[in-house]
């Protein structure tokens, strides 16, 4: 792990205090039992096939051309999109515009360890996955030889970070008036044995990744809803083909469900901007009237003299 020389780093051999707590020593079976009770309800009261309700808003960051904030219960993600700018360090002309995506975890965002300021391997992998998901959605032929910056900051990580990031990026791009082919939505599923956890929390993701069951792992998928195209599909773990196919069907449905919510937010955004524009125009007219009156006054005074 490259050290960040510009800041004070903790002693290198410091570990999280959590490895000394009773929770840490739980066996895999005990941890699994914790995840869901006899009624099939998960730790936070959801059903196995229930996604978290998403709260999303645009226009969060005033300095950015477009921005969005997405909250999936405890997972909180902010996205900013900036104006197209020239691609730095580039020699050749490119027919299509580029997307520069960067995902960053806040140092206090993860429950298991502190995130360093220097982007680590996981963040770079998420940035690549985000770019992979957004590229088919954006009309890149409208800004040849330019790049659009999409910057994601994860304030709190409680599972489904990539899905939340893709949703936020889609909203932010629309808010920034970047021409797009379709609305992009994303969802993820954790598989442990024969159980499918839709929209997993961080604990569920951790157990799914390190499980030794026959089928285990996490799948994240992002879909362009109207065009019915899958723009990104990432799987980690070990699953047989039937499981992968089943999860894909489930995810397609889940991504459809999010679309009306996104549409409503975008419409509210547009209506708000129209109202703002009308309001500003009315204000401008009023001020112009006042100015004209003053000008007339002074003119008559000058002429009078």
């Amino acid at each position: 792990m490259p050290l960040d020389f510009r800041r004070f780093n903790g002693p290198e051999d410091s570990v999280s205090y959590k490895i000394y707590t009773k929770d840490y020593l739980k066996t895999y079976d005990e941890q699994l039992k914790d995840l869901y009770d006899e009624n099939g309800k998960r730790k936070d009261g959801r059903e196995l096939n229930e996604a978290r309700s998403m709260f999303a808003r645009t226009d969060m960051v005033s300095q950015a051309k477009g921005s969005a904030y997405v909250e999936l219960r405890k997972t909180k993600v902010v996205c900013s999109v900036f104006d197209p700018r020239e691609i730095p360090h580039q020699n050749e002309f490119r027919q299509l515009g580029q997307l520069y995506c960067e995902v960053k975890f806040a140092p206090f965002s993860c429950p298991r360890k502190r995130r360093p300021y220097v982007p680590d391997v996981e963040e770079k992998a998420l940035s690549v996955a985000l770019r992979q998901a957004l590229e088919p959605a954006v009309c890149r032929h409208f800004f040849p030889n330019y790049q659009i910056d999409v910057l994601i900051y994860i304030l709190e990580h409680d599972g489904s970070c990539l899905a939340a990031a893709i949703n936020a990026a889609g909203l932010a791009l629309a808010n920034a008036a970047v021409p797009m082919f379709d609305i992009i939505t994303s969802c993820s599923v954790a598989v442990i044995g024969n159980k499918m956890f839709i929209d997993p929390t961080e604990i569920e993701e951790h157990i799914a990744k390190n499980s030794t069951e026959v089928n285990h792992g996490i799948i994240t998928m992002s879909v362009l809803s109207q065009l019915k195209q899958i723009s990104d599909f990432t799987q980690i773990g070990s699953m047989d083909v039937e499981c992968v196919t089943k999860v894909m069907e489930v995810l397609l449905k889940e991504c459809e469900i999010i679309v009306p919510n996104i549409q409503r937010i975008l419409v509210v955004d547009v209506v708000k901007n129209f109202e703002l524009k009308k309001h500003l125009e009315a204000e401008t007219k009023k001020r112009e009237e006042i100015l004209k009156k003053k000008m007339d006054e002074w003119r008559s005074l000058l002429n009078g003299q």
Partner: protein
């Protein structure tokens, strides 16, 4: 992957050919080009392999070191992948140009080997909670002729098959510290169990169909490819004739990812995964046969080594 200029007519020709399951060089959609593989080419590494697949040349070296296991996984060793895209491979990799591709390949390999069903890290444990083996898998891309993910995964599996782990002869437990004594005998080692290690198959979508092992011309007709990591079958890597008592393990997907600026329809994705599994099964079988044959020749001192001369 120097810039290739194809006219639109040539592209149409390639697309039509793929539609009929008949590619420009006569292969079917799931045929690989001929490959050359040699293991044990680097003497200082614990295991190594060199693979040539058409114009792609990959060299993998594996180093073993002793390390402390992670606190939440005390009985598991570690494996880490590093990919080096040097400027020798293609002029696009000059400076930091190859960095993105290198990190993308190493991330995919790390994800593919993450599951314990793909590669069991428990075989790398020495003393639970105190000492374990750490494998550094260094992948060098000597020449880049397309289809890197497949070639890298094949060479890595071959190198892991070839890896010799020294045997621990004595252990001194002094309070909390462990003192190891490893055997001096170079023939005193154990091999790793890599039968189930995953192979990556890249499926390139051209028109409506997907092809395996695309050539450079075919790659320029495609906007999206799917990379599927499929666990291997341990049976093919077992030298005993009595290996038939090993049950046929179900093929599993250990990683799936997409690569490219395009998108896929759900049906194409499903078909592509099935296609990848068929291709991976055949590939895994052939690789197993080749590696077992090489190991037999090695034991009988019949193996002629070519190294980099060929």
């Amino acid at each position: 992957m120097a810039g290739l200029l194809l006219s639109s007519t040539e592209k149409v020709f390639i697309v039509h050919g793929v539609q009929e399951d008949f590619r420009s060089d006569g292969r079917s959609n799931i045929d690989y080009r001929p490959m050359e593989l040699e293991t044990d080419v680097v003497s200082h590494a614990s295991g190594s392999a060199r693979l040539r697949l058409a114009n792609t040349d990959i060299l993998v070296g594996i180093k073993t070191e002793i390390d402390t296991p992670k606190p939440d996984k005390p009985d598991m060793g570690k494996i880490e992948f590093f990919v080096d895209c040097s400027a020798n491979a293609t002029p696009e990799f000059e400076g930091r140009g190859g960095e993105n591709l290198a990190s993308s390949i190493s991330n995919t390999m790390q994800r593919a080997y993450h599951s314990s069903q793909a590669f069991d890290l428990k075989q790398l444990c020495i003393v639970e909670g105190k000492q374990c083996w750490k494998l550094y898998v260094d992948i060098l891309i000597l020449e880049c002729g397309g289809n890197l993910f497949d070639a890298v995964s094949l060479a890595t599996k071959a190198a892991l098959f070839n890896t010799r782990i020294p045997l621990v002869k004595a252990l001194l437990m002094d309070g909390g510290n462990v003192d190891l004594q490893l055997s001096d005998d170079p023939y005193d080692f154990k091999f790793l169990d890599v039968g189930s290690a995953p192979l990556l198959v890249t499926l390139c979508k051209i028109g409506e169909k997907c092809v395996v092992d695309p050539s450079a011309e075919e790659e320029s007709c495609s906007v999206i490819s799917l990379i599927v990591g499929i666990t291997g079958n341990s049976k093919s890597y077992c030298a005993d004739k009595g290996a038939s008592n090993l049950s046929d393990v179900d093929i599993k997907c250990s990683t799936i990812s997409m690569n490219g600026p395009g998108s896929l329809a759900p049906k194409t994705l499903k078909n592509a995964i099935h296609q990848g599994i068929i291709a991976a099964k055949v590939l895994d079988d052939s690789l197993g046969q080749a590696l077992l044959r090489e190991r037999r020749e090695n034991i009988n001192s019949m193996k002629s080594s070519y190294g980099f001369l060929k």
